[in-house]
């Protein structure tokens, strides 16, 4: 199985604090890869490195044989990497559709059609709307397209972020705590949606989660972080069997 | 450039720089405690000069008493401004508060123009008399000396107040952390009022110092506002020694450039200094890495 994403010896130091030390991880193409660990383990930091929001102090990041560290943040969408945010980066005063449309990119820069009401413009806008609605359908939220974000429950908002990420037609979808704040039913639905996305869209998914049951349902492989280091990496059920993983979670609440 | 010209430029630069610094102190005081970028600081100063000219002087007080009364009067105006313009809707963001001060600036200017005509020059009495002193080849007018002396005195007075009195301590606490200060029992509201009173009084002083030098007209302090902000920015917006240094640096740089090239270089230079500082050292020239607060 080819590794779509290769993380090699990634170290991140903030001043005196080591957020990540020598992290290695391989995400196979077409797989759902879990990234778990207690609070403060560095999971979001690793995601932020891959998402080119933080610069690692050392290490390599290779996506589809492309050196990610040579890329600026705004190249990622074009390369095929999309993500959601742990603390939700949505525009509360805009509609769901407006937010999801942010994910849409068009090849080439801005054209005349962005400034004048031409027929092509309407055609393009209709196309965009259709894509956005299809993305919302993947998470079963298309009926809320014209509602303002501020009025929707937390769980829906997390899924809207996923729809937005899908609009970039990514190869790798990175989900930061998509299960936080969801009730069991919603979590089941998300699990089904993730698996469906993997099947129908050929996605590779890297997801951070605290919910072990969800992980076992959905993931093909898991990497476990603790205090910035990888302590285990392999099949999902090692969360039960691996002694180090159990020790890391002792006392943690989840 | 001969030594004479150099010295004269330096003197002029230090005097101007002192004025930028003093106005900048008022700006930093308000910015660091109440978080407001007060774009009306210059117009408040102009208003102070006009107030003394039209209201206080005709009453027949001695010049010194008239000065002090004006400063006090403007201090009260500062409190009024705080209650009417700043205090309502305190949840607004800082940019909105700055916009309100823009409106205030316009209001003060239009009141000035209404009463005293646009750009009509008035002669303003000098506290220091004409005449000059010579130190070797360097000639300092009484105005320059007096202005510098008053500016320094005002700054020293302010620092003494700020660093060694209880109200000053309250101001420092609020500037450092408003929530914690409130928890420690500081009356943040009262401190804010005091801040505006003191800052406006200082601005009035600057206006009274500038008016005798040029003519008093409605555009008196317009050139000073951005320069005072530049001084404050050089100091990092939160530092008093910083803004003083910033003012002096700007004033001297301006004077030297004017002497070396021409008067036309003045404005572009001030803008260039502003841009350079913001781009290269946005936290101010003197910020330690510990207190890295972006402007």
């Amino acid at each position: 199985m080819t590794a779509l994403l290769e993380v090699s010896e990634i170290t991140v130091r903030f001043g005196g604090v080591r957020a990540l030390t020598g992290v290695n991880m391989q995400v196979a193409e077409g797989s759902v890869h879990g990234l778990i660990g207690p609070n403060g383990a560095g999971k979001t930091t690793l995601l932020n490195c891959i998402g080119r929001v933080i610069e690692p102090t050392e290490g390599r990041l290779v996506f589809a044989r492309d050196d990610l560290r040579a890329r600026p943040t705004h190249d990622l969408a074009r390369l095929g990497v999309a993500r959601t945010f742990q603390n939700l980066a949505l525009m509360d005063d805009r509609t769901v559709l407006d937010n999801v449309l942010v994910g849409l990119r068009r090849a080439g820069g801005f054209t005349l059609h962005d400034f004048l009401p031409t027929r092509r413009r309407f055609a393009l806008e209709a196309e965009d709307r259709a894509t956005a609605l299809a993305a919302l359908a993947q998470v079963d939220l298309q009926q809320f397209a014209h509602q303002k974000i501020g009025k929707l429950p937390y769980g829906y908002r997390k899924s809207i972020e996923i729809a937005r990420a899908l609009c970039t037609r990514p190869r790798l979808l990175m989900l930061d705590e998509p299960t936080a704040g969801l009730n069991p039913t919603e979590m089941d639905q998300l699990g089904i949606a993730v698996r469906r996305m993997r099947e129908t869209l050929g996605l590779t998914v890297l997801l951070i989660t605290h919910h072990i049951e969800f992980l076992l349902e959905v993931a093909d492989r898991v990497t476990v972080l603790d205090l910035g280091c990888v302590i285990a990496d392999g099949a999902p059920d090692l969360v039960h069997t691996d002694a180090r993983v159990r020790a890391a979670y002792l006392g943690a609440d989840e | 450039m001969t030594l004479d010209i150099l010295m004269a430029a330096l003197v002029s630069g230090i005097v101007n720089g002192g004025l930028y610094a003093l106005l900048g102190i008022a700006i930093v005081l308000i910015f660091s405690t109440t978080g407001v970028a007060n774009f009306a600081q210059g117009e408040l100063a102009t208003f102070g000069a006009f107030a003394m000219f039209m209201i206080v002087l005709p009453v027949g007080l001695s010049l010194v008493v008239a000065w002090m009364s004006t400063v006090v009067l403007l201090g009260i105006l500062g409190a009024v401004v705080y209650f009417i313009v700043i205090r309502p809707r305190p949840e607004a963001d800082h940019l909105n508060l700055a916009v309100r001060t823009l409106g205030l600036s316009g209001l003060l200017h239009s009141i000035d123009v209404l009463k005293w005509g646009p750009n009509e020059p008035y002669r303003f009495p000098s506290l220091f008399g004409s005449g000059s002193l010579s130190f070797g080849t360097v000639v300092l007018s009484h105005d320059q000396l007096g202005t510098l002396a008053v500016a320094v005195a005002m700054a020293v007075l302010f620092f003494a107040f700020f660093n060694h009195t209880r109200p000053g301590l309250a101001m420092r606490a609020v500037a450092m952390n408003r929530e914690v200060a409130a928890l420690q029992g500081v009356d943040v509201q009262r401190t804010n009022v005091m801040v505006w009173v003191v800052a406006t009084a200082i601005s009035a002083t600057v206006g009274l110092l500038v008016a005798p030098i040029s003519f008093l007209d409605t555009g008196l302090m317009q050139p000073y506002l951005l320069k005072a902000f530049t001084a404050a920015i050089i100091g990092g917006m939160y530092s008093f020694p910083g803004v003083v240094a910033g003012g002096l640096i700007l004033g001297i740089a301006e004077a030297l450039a004017t002497a070396a090239a021409s008067i036309h270089v003045r404005e572009p230079l001030a803008f260039a200094v502003l841009l350079l500082v913001l781009l290269l050292r946005p936290a101010g020239l003197f910020a330690s890495s510990r207190l890295q607060r972006r402007v």
């Binding site: 998402g51 080119r52 929001v53 600026p72 943040t73 705004h74 190249d75 990622l76 969408a77 074009r78 999309a82 993500r83 980066a89 525009m91 407006d98 449309l101 942010v102 849409l104 990119r105 801005f110 962005d114 400034f115 004048l116 009401p117 413009r121 309407f122 806008e125 209709a126 709307r129 509602q147 970039t168 | 309502p88 809707r89 607004a92 800082h94 940019l95 909105n96 700055a98 916009v99 823009l102 409106g103 205030l104 316009g106 209001l107 200017h109 239009s110 123009v113 209404l114 646009p118 951005l226 902000f229 920015i233 404005e267 572009p268 502003l274 841009l275 913001l278 781009l279 946005p282 402007v295």
Partner: protein
């Protein structure tokens, strides 16, 4: 309450409400053709300020960039056009185009530091730029020094007692409004809003921050330049005082008072700016005071401007209808 923007999102289909608004707008715009010459002059001024304000709404309303450098764009629009006409003998439209290109360049330059500067710092820099341009034109003989430049009187400005010129300004304003609406409701608006709301998120979705901020500045510069050119033509005299940094604040006030959310807000705000000095003509400069008071009142209490007041009214009236 679902807010349907000016012009619906459905392709080529406008909602009944916007059709009404459009009709009203057209009527209002046609009216000055039948009024007195003086009223036409005021209406022309309104159109010019409206163009400037609609342009300023793009960086401020969409990208949350507080640009106080708008007077610099208007100044370039006026002076560059005048110089092209007087020195190069260029026809007016070409001269205006040249000025527009120059202003766009200035806009792009102002955008350069925008990534490294906070909102406040950028605001100060734009203020500084306004001041710099203003001081500079007063200094050089080429730009007429403190006296300014005298343009030749053009036939089309005075033709039909000002009707032709008014029609041109109104036509340009409508064009500007249409373009602004397209920008606001389309991809550019989305990208600008995202970059303002959360720059990191926007970048993660392919937004090149520098490019979009430059675009915002350049668009506003184009509008400002056209407005400045028209302003110069309207009086045939380009006085530096007319393009002082104060002008930036005035146009900003128009955007703020009119309300930033909808395309027509700045047009309403511009009307306000132009009308107040007219209505308070009896007492000299009282207009400026009234205007400043309203500015303070709006920014302090009604930050959403007239739009906020109007939708507040509608909400209260609408509550009776289930």
């Amino acid at each position: 309450m679902g807010d349907v923007p000016f012009g619906s999102q459905e392709a080529g289909h406008t909602s009944p409400r916007s059709r009404v608004l459009l009709t009203v707008l057209v009527l209002v715009l046609v009216a000055p053709l039948f009024a007195t010459g003086y009223m036409r002059y005021v209406a022309t001024l309104w159109m010019i300020y409206a163009i400037a304000a609609v342009g300023l709404q793009i960086p401020i309303g969409l990208a949350a960039i507080y640009s106080f450098g708008h007077s610099a764009f208007m100044l370039v629009g006026a002076y560059a056009m005048a110089l092209a006409i007087m020195l190069g003998g260029w026809p007016v439209p070409i001269a205006m185009l040249a000025a527009l290109v120059l202003a766009a360049l200035v806009g792009a330059l102002l955008a350069l530091p925008s990534l490294r500067l906070s909102g406040f710092a950028l605001a100060i820099v734009t203020m500084g730029a306004s001041s710099l341009f203003f001081q500079s034109v007063k200094v050089f003989k080429l730009t007429g020094g403190p006296q300014g430049l005298f343009l030749p009187e053009f036939a089309f400005v005075k033709a039909m007692d000002g009707r032709a010129f008014y029609a041109i300004c109104a036509g340009l304003m409508m064009l500007g409004l249409m373009v602004s609406h397209c920008v606001e409701s389309g991809r550019i608006g989305r990208v600008l809003r995202a970059s303002a709301a959360n720059p990191l998120m926007a970048q993660s979705f392919g937004v090149h921050l520098m490019r979009v901020r430059t675009l915002a500045f350049v668009i506003s510069a184009v509008y400002g330049s056209i407005a400045g050119s028209l302003l110069g033509l309207s009086t045939s005299y380009i006085a530096p005082e007319a393009y002082a940094p104060d002008l930036s604040i005035q146009v900003f006030a128009a955007v703020m008072i009119g309300g930033m959310a909808r395309a027509w807000g700045p047009v309403l705000g511009a009307l306000f700016i132009v009308l107040i000095p007219e209505l308070t003509q009896s007492v000299q400069n009282l207009g400026a005071i009234v205007y400043a008071l309203i500015f303070i009142a709006v920014s302090t209490v009604y930050p959403g401007g007239l739009q906020q007041m109007i939708s507040g009214l509608r909400a209260r009236l609408g509550k009776r209808v289930p």
